[in-house]
């Protein structure tokens, strides 16, 4: 399938296969146990000694986030649900109009943020809830790495909100167009959104200076910061694209690094938590491990035509779990 000069070294046949039989939308870990978030109803705990399917939602699962202690999911049943490593789950919130809960983020000290329609909610670890009305639908949520602050992506920009500062007017970073996802750099200095267009938009937070990151062949749907926070790895093109975020200017005036040239479009990225390595999943089903220093590649999943839809590393980075739109999952222990 691929047009590399020599066959790539492959670890694909060492992966353990898991049948999910439902679209896999994301994945998380409880220690070494991969947990696949399925498109409908359930989480699939895929421990080596046997899988366990835990039904939690009464419909589609639209968003998820995890902090090692729990996986929090939002569904089209209007519910926000937390599930622990035993598979026990509790409803954290129910939307009063049964709107879709399609954005979820986890923050410091057990805080959880979620959104339904044009309202963003935050519940602190102590159980206090704050709500913020936005002018358009919330399309992305992300906590800042430090401090109790939330970034919210929406039409024509992003809003920065301190939920604990009662009465304080949230700060708005404006840029025309529809912003569909948001991430904040691990050093807290830059905010980046994915847009409806085939581009990313960024702001340096200290002075709201703009950055445009373009050149993609599709809308960017997956973002991941490298282990040291020095670069942002992105999907949306026929290679892995990394934007440099070192120094005070971030990617301003710099070129991205292009690695893992592929015949198919990159659909998901997940950076290794400890090393300069990224996993890149492609629309043809292949998953490549990419060494960021020199671009060396190892095949982690063979191309089989099933678009890769989820990738995740265990906290230490010894286990990589992969899932596809068609419900094929595999787990590779390195």
């Amino acid at each position: 399938m691929t047009d590399f000069a020599a066959p790539l070294p492959s670890l694909a046949d060492r992966a353990r296969l898991v049948q999910a039989e439902s679209t896999i939308v994301s994945m998380h870990f409880f220690r070494q146990t991969p947990v696949f978030v399925l498109g409908e109803e359930a989480l699939l705990f895929a421990a080596p000694e046997g899988g366990k399917r835990v039904a939690i939602h009464g419909g589609a699962i639209l968003a998820s986030a995890a902090d090692g202690q729990r996986i929090v999911t939002g569904g089209d049943d209007g519910k926000l649900i937390a599930t622990n490593r035993e598979g026990e789950h509790e409803v954290l919130a129910t939307d009063d109009k049964k709107r879709w809960v399609d954005q979820v983020a986890l923050g410091p000290d057990g805080a959880v943020a979620w959104a339904a329609g044009k309202v963003a909610h935050v519940r602190t670890g102590k159980g206090e809830q704050r709500d913020l009305d936005l002018p358009s639908t919330v399309a992305g949520l992300c906590f800042f790495p430090k401090g109790f602050r939330l970034a919210i992506a929406h039409y024509n920009g992003a809003t920065l909100w301190f939920p604990n500062a009662a009465g304080a007017k949230p700060e708005v970073l404006e840029w025309k167009g529809s912003h569909l996802g948001v991430t904040v750099s691990p050093d807290g200095k830059f905010l980046v959104t994915t847009m409806q267009e085939q581009t990313l938009h960024g702001w340096r937070i200290v002075d709201a200076k703009h950055m445009r990151m373009s050149g993609y062949s599709a809308r960017v749907r997956s973002l991941s910061w490298t282990h040291d926070g020095g670069a942002l790895a992105t999907s949306g093109s026929e290679q892995l694209i990394l934007w440099p975020f070192t120094g005070k200017d971030g990617p301003m005036g710099k070129q991205p690094t292009l690695l893992a040239q592929s015949p198919a479009r990159c659909s998901v990225v997940a950076c290794h938590p400890r090393q300069p390595v990224a996993a890149a999943g492609f629309a043809d089903g292949s998953v490549l491990l990419v060494r960021l220093d020199d671009g060396a590649l190892i095949l982690a999943r063979e191309a089989d035509g099933e678009p890769v839809s989820a990738l995740g590393w265990s906290a230490e980075g010894q286990v990589l779990a992969m899932g596809t739109e068609n419900g094929s999952a595999s787990v590779l222990t390195l």
Partner: protein, 346 residues
């Protein structure tokens, strides 16, 4: 290995129509008839469907402009989100129906299928179906630009509540519809009663189905309305043996054709420039093209500035190799378009 072919993509029918025209009645009919199909229904915030359906989603019609400074380059942000969510339940439904509010412009809905790669990869726009009120449409065409957009944009028009008007009034309103959009399939209905295969599974946006873009000529009326018609709204009209022909003041269709082959190196720059400059006024475009030294016919369609085209098939033996293009739009510069098209002849 590749993206799903159009047959595997979930078809999406867009239901438009002015308030009270009978859109919700049609929707309820679609959902309640025993067809064995499951529909996911995206209803507008004022929608009231009377049928229990597991997959009903409320949409709030968020029209988002793209970041290119152009007011016609818009998508329905809520559809991008909802279709992404619905596709997680793939297998639970066979088709999607999007009901819009009476004030909605169908273009952003249609453009979402061409502008959002994810939506376009998983679903396909089947047709825009417009329900119009036989009694009130004539008035709405005067006072509501949205109503005119919905007629101009439609692939299928249900002229509903025909039992509430006289044959003369019916002929009159049909003529007004035809003045705006001579290409849509037009059905006269009462209480939105229609065979569902006339509104669903139309493949109106399938390039392979752009076989016939001849206008749907009016059937001659039944002879009750041959008297002179006094018109007070400054529309032009004249009679041809019982058929009224109106000219709508601001929405027209232009049809151009030539038997001479076109030069693709002239045609593509011309049409791209045309939609770049006039795209905000061109609601829909379609064409079948005969290029010089090309054994295959080329077909295209467009919504405002978006063009979608491909080689369709070989010209058949004995088939007349001619090119024909159609534009429906507002205040279109007909002479400029005609001259431009003629300059593309090889």
């Amino acid at each position: 290995m590749t993206a799903p072919s159009s047959a595997e993509k979930i078809p999406v029918t867009v239901l438009t129509g002015y308030l009270g025209a009978g859109k919700t009645t049609l929707l309820n009919r679609i959902l309640s008839e025993p067809h064995g199909k499951k529909y996911a229904v995206i209803v507008n915030e004022f929608g009231e469907i009377g049928i229990d359906n597991e997959l009903v989603v409320n949409a709030d019609e968020e029209v988002f402009e793209m970041n290119n400074g152009c007011i016609c380059c818009t998508v329905r942000g809520d559809l991008v989100r909802i279709i992404d969510g619905l596709m997680r339940r793939k297998g639970k439904f066979d088709a999607i129906i999007v009901e819009t509010t009476g004030l909605a412009d169908p273009a952003p809905v249609a453009q979402t299928f061409f502008m959002d790669e994810n939506v376009g990869a998983k679903t396909r726009l089947d047709a825009v179906v417009t329900v119009a009120d036989a009694k009130w449409l004539k008035d709405r065409l005067k006072d509501a630009p949205e109503a005119k957009n919905q007629i101009a944009f439609a692939d299928v028009i249900l002229l509903n509540k025909t039992d509430l008007v006289t044959p003369g009034e019916l002929a009159e309103v049909e003529a007004r519809i035809r003045a705006i959009n001579p290409y849509a399939k037009l059905h006269r209905t009462e209480r939105s009663k229609i065979a569902l295969d006339e509104v669903l599974g139309r493949n109106a946006f399938d390039l392979d189905r752009i076989l016939d873009i001849e206008p749907e000529f009016l059937t001659a009326d039944d002879g009750h309305d041959h008297d002179h018609h006094h018109d007070h709204d400054h529309d032009h009209h004249h009679h041809h043996g019982g058929l009224k022909h109106y000219h709508d003041e601001d929405m027209q269709s232009i049809s151009l054709n030539t038997a001479k082959p076109l030069d693709p190196d002239k045609f593509f720059p011309w049409v791209q420039d045309l939609v770049a400059t006039e795209g905000k006024d061109i609601l829909r475009s379609k064409g079948i093209l005969n290029f010089k030294n090309d054994e295959e016919r080329f077909v295209f369609q467009g919504v405002h500035m978006i063009l979608d085209g491909d080689h369709q098939r070989k010209w058949k033996d004995g088939e007349a190799r001619s090119s024909r293009i159609v534009f429906i739009g507002r205040h279109l510069p007909e002479e400029k378009i005609r001259k431009g098209f003629e300059s593309c002849i090889a």
